[in-house]
């Protein structure tokens, strides 16, 4: 039985309700798009329809002539002000408005400022851009081919799409351990590109006061002070003359850490028109152009004894960063905290190598609660442990319990230099198994399989580093492998691998005999309860 929050007492004052809720439940939140300033204008961004192309020409005259348009800004307008490009949080540069080329579908090309949001969108269609389309680099595995088109020819001396190589751990020790291990398993796995997709999209209201020279900037941002510093650097406005305000934010999840071109355009729009300018993106813009997450193509290898003592884990990773290296992370490592991939296990050796490449996609990479690539790291190790369990014919929970770092080993320094502060992993795993009724579940699974059905259960462990800190030194401490004990394979009636052992394929009928839950409707009508809903939306069933 799980413990409900009501049964706990937080420090001091009991279950504490939130002070901000009374506003929100009344619809009195103050989100970015709720902000209205006197004389405020509205901005909209023209975006590239293609992934990779040279910009031959851009004609904004028709848009500028629209009766409700107050300004049209292009990369050519920003260039003399040194605002066409801006620094990223990963020591690269990103285009604010395209000048020479477009490098991903959805890239910002022009900015319109108009009296209202509808007119701003109308005016986008009056801007005419001629593109000379180039071959795009989409598959990161081909980004480093000798004949791959060079995406970042804006960078001096750049002749390929390579961003970085980075490694951590002891490659030689790993070689030795892997060579001598009883069991070695390799698995390719992809952590696909996903998106934090907070329900509130990104936006800004920029209000530059031409008399005082003060810029007041409302932004959907998780880091207002960092933004203030960056704007001071980029726009040349003294920091004390910039006020960045983060109002109520409708979800960030890491997607609202970086500075987006739209924010910069709003600032320029306000400076040019002398009025406040609001820019809010729509959902398509949010998904196509703002910080994606993950896109790590990993090969994992795990070495163990035949009794199930995990000896080492190593991995090589191809990191697809999109067209600019814009990972919004403050660590000094190009792959963030990925080298925490040793997870909760006491290993003899570990090594990782990460290669970052450019592709013709939107920039990003660190977002969606990844804790700076910890999501990727934990996915890798936890999948590999299960892959090993399958190889050994061992229950995955048992395999974990056997290899967890023990409480008396803390503070524990990992093979890649992290010092874990505290932990009692076995107790927590035991509790999860008990709450889940793990043995009963395995029994149910075994019975169903014997009867021709399938069911899947999985237990896992995770240890995550948290908070923001400077990097740590590597430590090369060796540990003697724990004496092996226990046996792999089924016990206590848990017939996990009864039919699924690698060599015993379990020749169950693939069709017919299985009774699963009833198939759902093909197309899920996205509707709220109500018969006469004229706005019934649909979404495609997952392909």
């Amino acid at each position: 039985m799980t413990t409900a929050p009501e049964q706990e007492r937080p420090i001091g004052f009991g279950r504490l309700k939130r002070k901000e809720d009374p506003r929100f439940i009344r619809g009195r939140g103050n989100y970015l798009d709720d902000i209205v300033l006197p004389g405020m204008l509205h901005g909209a961004i023209l975006r590239s329809p293609v992934a990779h192309a040279r910009m031959v020409s851009i004609d904004t005259s028709e848009a500028a002539a629209h009766p409700k348009v107050r300004a049209v800004i292009t990369g050519a307008d920003l260039e003399p002000l040194n605002l066409a490009w801006m620094p990223t949080l990963s020591s690269d540069t990103q285009s604010v408005l395209a000048t020479d080329k477009v490098r991903f579908q959805g890239q910002e090309v022009a900015f319109v400022v108009a009296d209202d949001r509808y007119a701003a969108r109308d005016a986008l269609e009056l801007i005419h851009v001629e593109y000379d389309i180039l071959d795009p680099v989409i598959d990161p595995h081909h980004a480093l081919d000798p004949d791959a088109p060079v995406i970042r020819d804006d960078l001096e001396g750049r002749t390929d799409n390579h961003i970085f190589d980075w490694e951590s751990g002891d490659a030689d020790e790993c070689d030795r351990v892997f060579a001598e291990a009883d069991v070695v398993v390799t698995r390719d796995m992809v952590y696909p590109r996903v998106h934090p997709a907070p329900l509130e999209t990104c936006g800004a209201v920029a209000d530059y006061d031409q008399v005082t020279g003060k810029l007041t900037l409302y932004e959907t941002t998780q880091a207002p002070h960092a933004h203030r510093t960056l704007y001071a650097i980029v726009a040349g406005i003294p920091e004390h003359k910039i006020r960045v305000i983060s109002p109520d934010v409708g979800g960030g999840f890491g997607g609202k850490v970086g500075i987006y071109p739209g924010y910069v355009c709003a600032v320029v729009g306000s400076i040019v028109t002398g009025r406040p300018v609001k820019w809010v993106e729509d959902r398509s813009e949010n998904l196509i152009s703002t910080a994606f997450a993950r896109d790590y193509h990993m090969t994992g290898e795990i070495a163990a004894t035949s009794e199930g003592t995990i000896l080492a884990v190593r991995t090589t990773v191809l990191a697809d960063h999109g067209a600019h290296n814009g990972t919004a992370q403050p660590t000094k490592y190009p792959a963030g905290f990925f080298h925490v991939f040793t997870g909760s296990y006491d290993l003899q050796a570990a090594h990782c190598k990460v290669t970052g490449v450019y592709t013709n996609k939107a920039p990003g990479g660190v977002a969606y609660a990844c804790s700076f690539r910890v999501t990727e790291a934990v996915y890798l190790v936890e999948r590999m442990v299960d892959v090993l369990a399958a190889e050994l014919g061992m229950d995955p929970a048992e395999l974990r319990m056997k290899n967890l770092i023990q409480p008396d080993q803390f503070p524990y320094t990992t093979r890649t230099g992290w010092e874990y502060d505290s932990g009692d992993y076995p107790t927590t795993l035991r509790k999860a198994l008990d709450v889940a009724g793990y043995e009963d579940l395995r029994r149910e699974q075994a019975e169903k399989r014997a009867g021709g059905q399938r069911a899947g259960a999985s237990g896992r462990r995770v240890g995550i580093p948290d908070g923001h800190r400077r990097g740590l030194l590597h430590r090369g401490r060796r540990r003697r492998p724990a004496a092996s004990h226990g046996h792999p394979g089924p016990r206590h009636g848990r017939q996990l691998r009864g039919q699924g052992a690698p060599d015993g394929q379990g020749r169950r009928a693939a069709f017919g005999a299985d009774a699963g839950p009833g198939a759902r409707d093909d197309v899920r009508a996205d509707r709220v309860r109500g018969a006469r809903d004229p706005t019934r939306g649909h979404r495609r069933r997952p392909r």
Partner: protein, 173 residues
């Protein structure tokens, strides 16, 4: 085009473009910013309002289409200073975090409870399945609606007097 809408019991007349969406009419013309806008394909539900008591996505409804109908937004849930039980329930059960999906969820919950005063958790999940929340994972939203179902009798604003007083203070500040 001249459009006259009844919103939260009050008639409003505006001259707007025929293509103006209801969500923008409410937010930009009437300043009722409790109704939000989160996607362009009617999937997210942050724009949900009640039209004649039924949840409708105002992002794909033209303002002009609602002439002659009753529109109710989240601002219309509180009556005479008394919170609706769904509003109280969401506070009691932590049914919101960032609050962006909350107005739509509240209204759908209200409509559900009007039609089905004692819904099962499955029925609640089904009712809100057309709306997204990225923060809560939905379990506390379900609990919030159940709280409202259980405390709905006895009128609006059921809840500790201290909460009500605090809430009034917050709104006034």
């Amino acid at each position: 085009m001249d459009v006259t809408l009844t919103v939260n019991g009050v008639e409003h007349q505006r001259d707007v473009e025929a293509r103006m969406l209801l969500v923008h009419f409410l937010r930009d013309e009437l300043g009722l910013t409790g109704t939000h806008w989160g996607c362009d394909t009617s999937n997210c539900g942050t724009c949900v309002v009640l039209i004649d008591g039924e949840p409708v996505k105002s992002c794909t409804t033209l303002a002009a289409m609602t002439v002659g109908h009753e529109v109710r937004t989240v601002e219309g849930l509180e009556q005479d200073g008394q919170l609706d039980p769904v509003q109280q329930g969401f506070m009691e059960e932590h049914g919101l975090q960032c609050g962006f999906c909350t107005p739509g969820m509240l209204l759908t919950a209200r409509a559900l409870l009007d039609a089905n005063p004692d819904p099962s958790t499955d029925e609640i999940r089904e009712a809100i399945s057309g709306q997204l929340c990225r923060c809560t994972g939905y379990a506390t939203i379900v609990r919030s609606v159940r709280w409202a179902a259980e405390h709905g009798e006895g009128g609006n604003g059921a809840g500790p007097a201290a909460d009500r007083a605090e809430a009034q203070e917050e709104v006034g500040s």
